[in-house]
């Protein structure tokens, strides 16, 4: 159970695996990109230069990009064969998150449209 993995076919998620310089640079680049994306997000949210409904979409895209930056530069999730299990686990997690959020929002939106405000309905029901 404590045998070594000689062929380096697996890498622990989050484990850095390079020289001091390249490891540090990875974090610096990650920080720079994240700061850039954060700044962009705040700007996009307050500017009138973009078409209204597109702003929310743009913010979501920027957020996903920044999550990607975190995953690659801080958590060292790459597409190499040694990372396969980590990526698969992440993909499964993302799928579930997507199903839960999109499913709930879709269902609740339809319920809201069909079933009306809960408080009013309860009032109606409690008045015999």
């Amino acid at each position: 159970m404590t045998e070594h993995d000689p062929e380096q076919l697996n890498v622990a998620p989050g484990a850095p695996h390079d020289s001091l310089f390249s490891e540090t640079i990875a974090y610096v680049i990650g920080l720079a990109l994240a700061l850039l994306l954060t700044g962009l997000s705040f700007w996009v949210a307050s500017t009138s230069a973009l078409w209204g409904p597109g702003v929310a979409v743009g913010l979501v895209v920027l957020a996903i990009a920044q999550m990607g930056v975190h995953l690659v530069f801080f958590l060292h999730i790459t597409s190499g064969p040694d990372n396969a299990n980590n990526v698969l686990a992440l993909a499964f997690g993302v799928l579930i998150v997507f199903l839960v959020m999109v499913g709930t929002i879709w269902i609740m939106a339809h319920l809201a449209a069909n079933m009306g405000p809960m408080a009013e309905m309860m009032n109606l029901q409690t008045q015999h």
Binding site: F92, L99, G103, M108, N114, M115, M118
Partner: protein
């Protein structure tokens, strides 16, 4: 309300209600008697070292199964009470249970059966079997495994405590708001439910993490993914679902607790709360939960069918694919539990179609099992009885499920006795029969002797006949308008059907009694049925390579795996050459130490939980600090493992080889 005792007063003890009072007294006396007996035979040190603090997956598995079987008795007692009452409460008669009491009984029945019977039993089997089948020594995180078990036990303790102190929830096994909100359930019942489930839920998520890591990262050399036994694949899928679904349960129950304890407005009628949101979230968890239970059950059937047909499982890759398909699809169907809540035709159609689709991979599995039997030499041992019984009855339950997946049909039979029949029709043949089959199948591996066959068959017939009598009439009653959870039946023409169902319940009850008899009798006469070779059924997977019971470390040297059915090929080669493989190079073995962390942590969790339920805030803080302190103390230890000296390893291994060599020709029943 006092600052020292919170809501707890003498009136918490049910002096006015004879049934809980007498039951509590009987249980307390019985537990005390057991404790005194253990003390008398001086078995506490043995229990402490060999079981309670054990990090051995086999021991932990046995403890889970003991917990599950014990809680089966409690859950079944609730069932008999309900059936008896319903039979008596027809027309002008009122039965013997008032609605407040009846509601607690059906709520306790469902909660206990799902969370403290089915889950522990399934997890127990995965615990015992998976590392052995993977050809390794233990799971990825043995200490965490121990903690998981004790947290589940803590939850079970709290639920049962509600019988003696206070009350249980009256809101069904899922505690829907607004009924479960403070305004409509001001007592401690719902709090018992919430706290118990949150505590055991933590344990379950940790189990999920443990087993996915084990199956993906810790297997014998040569055991690639497509050489794993099917039971391990179903365990993988089930544990992936645990990781994916249980956090949603934790979040949802936490939100209900925030509503009740801190006056939040997630699901309340006022303040903008939306109780439909609860329904949605709880079923996002609830549907995967039933697949968490049934997938390992299907895995057990796969093992049993191939072993007792003397053939490799038909369609291994399609089984794997079907398992993973069910895993993913189970997250796309949850709305079928509330078609009638009003999301509309579009949404209902999507989820209805998805619910029907999920029947397809299940059908694939059934065909694979049938094709495995076809052309094989089927041996009708007890596990095979359960498997065939399952195939006959589960298909019916599955078909009624497909029927329910059609929204217009569901609008008519939602929450009726038809539904009750359906889900018992899939859970009992699906999960319970598999557990009984697995219990018989792996009992000799765990304890070194087989259970008595004749009594085993009698138990099967009681379950099979009893189940059919107890639930088939409910399909009809559902069509005739029977709603679930009714404390009183107004239509006297249902009396004969309810009578049949009551008889069925008693037949199952007799089966449960026979199980106990079988166990006691089998222990008493165990020398007649010793499992000397470690392979009593001519098995095909690696757990049968070890003697029964296996040594603490399972295998002296991890077996090299060269194909599917690793053990079968090795066995056939040995029989052909009339020699075992050459002795490998033995090494001393490192195994994890025992740990009291689990039981102590669960102790503090129980204290904290009890305190939260009764509003004893100082005690809750004490419990929380205690649990955290145990954690830190554990993190501070320097020794994690002990070494098993190579002499011991060699001695055990040579004994195993000697026994195997002697019995080489008995091992295979097909030569």
């Amino acid at each position: 309300m006092s600052p020292i005792l919170g809501k707890l007063t003498w009136s918490a003890i049910p002096f006015e209600e004879p049934i809980p009072l007498i039951t509590s007294i009987v249980v307390i006396v019985a537990l005390a008697a057991v404790a005194i007996w253990i003390t008398k035979i001086k078995a506490w040190p043995y229990l402490w070292h060999e079981y309670i603090t054990s990090t051995d997956h086999k021991r932990i598995g046995i403890m889970y199964i003991v917990l599950g079987l014990a809680m089966l008795v409690r859950g079944f007692a609730d069932a008999i009470m309900m059936r008896a009452h319903q039979f008596l409460a027809i027309g002008p008669h009122q039965g013997y249970l008032n609605p407040e009491h009846y509601d607690q009984i059906f709520s306790a029945h469902g909660t206990i059966m799902i969370f403290f019977v089915a889950m522990p039993l399934v997890i127990g089997f995965m615990n015992f079997v998976v590392p052995l089948q993977l050809g390794v020594r233990d799971v990825a995180f043995p200490t965490m495994n121990n903690v998981s078990f004790w947290l589940s036990a803590s939850g079970a303790l709290l639920v049962n405590l509600s019988l003696f102190l206070g009350e249980f929830a009256r809101t069904g096994w899922l505690a829907f708001p607004p009924l479960s909100e403070k305004a409509f359930s001001p007592g401690v019942g719902v709090d018992y439910y919430l706290v118990a489930l949150q505590i055991s839920g933590v344990g379950t998520v940790l189990t999920g993490v443990n087993f996915v890591t084990t199956i993906l990262k810790i297997r014998a050399p040569g055991m690639s993914y497509l050489r794993m036994p099917v039971f391990c694949w179903t365990a993988l899928a089930s544990n992936l679902l645990i990781i994916a679904a249980f956090p949603v349960l934790t979040a949802t129950l936490a939100m209900l607790m925030l509503d009740r304890y801190l006056g939040f407005h997630f699901f309340t009628n006022d303040g903008g709360g939306n109780s439909m949101l609860y329904m949605n979230l709880i079923w996002v968890w609830g549907h995967p939960e039933v697949y968490i239970l049934v997938l390992p059950a299907f895995g057990i059937y796969s093992e049993v069918v191939s072993t007792f047909s003397g053939k490799p499982l038909f369609g291994y890759r399609s089984m794997v694919f079907a398992t993973l398909a069910i895993c993913i699809l189970s997250f796309t169907v949850w709305l079928h539990h509330f078609f009638t809540m009003g999301a509309g035709a579009d949404v209902n159609a999507f989820f209805g179609i998805a619910s029907m689709l999920i029947g397809i991979p299940t059908g694939v599995k059934i065909y694979n099992w049938l094709f495995t039997m076809y052309g094989g030499r089927v041996r009708f041992n007890v596990p095979m009885y359960y498997t065939i019984g399952f195939m006959l009855t589960f298909v019916l339950g599955g078909l009624t499920g497909v029927l329910l997946a059609i929204p217009p049909v569901d609008f008519i039979v939602h929450n009726s006795l038809f539904l009750v029949a359906h889900f018992h029709n899939v859970i009992i043949p699906g999960v319970v029969f598999a557990i009984m089959a697995g219990y018989t199948y792996w009992f000799p591996k765990a304890f070194g002797f087989t259970l008595d066959e004749r009594l085993g068959k009698a138990v099967f017939w009681c379950w099979f006949i009893g189940f059919n009598l107890a639930f088939m009439p409910s399909y009809l009653l559902g069509f005739w308008g029977g709603t679930r959870r009714m404390q009183h039946i107004s239509d006297p023409s249902w009396r004969p059907w309810l009578g049949i169902e009551l008889v069925g319940a008693f037949v199952i009850g007799f089966g449960v009694v026979l199980m106990v008899v079988q166990l006691v009798y089998s222990i008493r006469t165990r020398d007649q049925r010793r499992d000397l070779t470690g392979d009593p059924w001519d098995g095909r997977t690696l757990e049968w390579l070890t003697l029964s019971p296996p040594p603490h470390y399972n295998f002296a040297v991890l077996p090299d795996v060269h194909g599917e059915e690793a053990y079968w090929h090795r066995k056939q080669e040995a029989i052909e050459r009339d020699a075992l493989i050459a002795e490998p190079d033995y090494q001393p073995i490192e195994m994890p130490l025992n740990t009291p962390v689990g039981v102590i942590c669960a102790f503090f969790a129980s204290i904290c939980g009890f305190a939260v339920i009764w509003y004893i805030w100082w005690l809750a803080i004490v419990g929380l600090i205690g649990a955290f302190a145990v954690f830190v103390w554990y993190a501070w230890r320097d020794e994690h493992e002990h070494i098993i000296p190579v002499e011991e390893v060699i001695a055990n291994a040579r004994e195993r080889r000697r026994v195997r060599m002697e019995n080489l020709h008995q091992l295979s029943q097909s030569t």
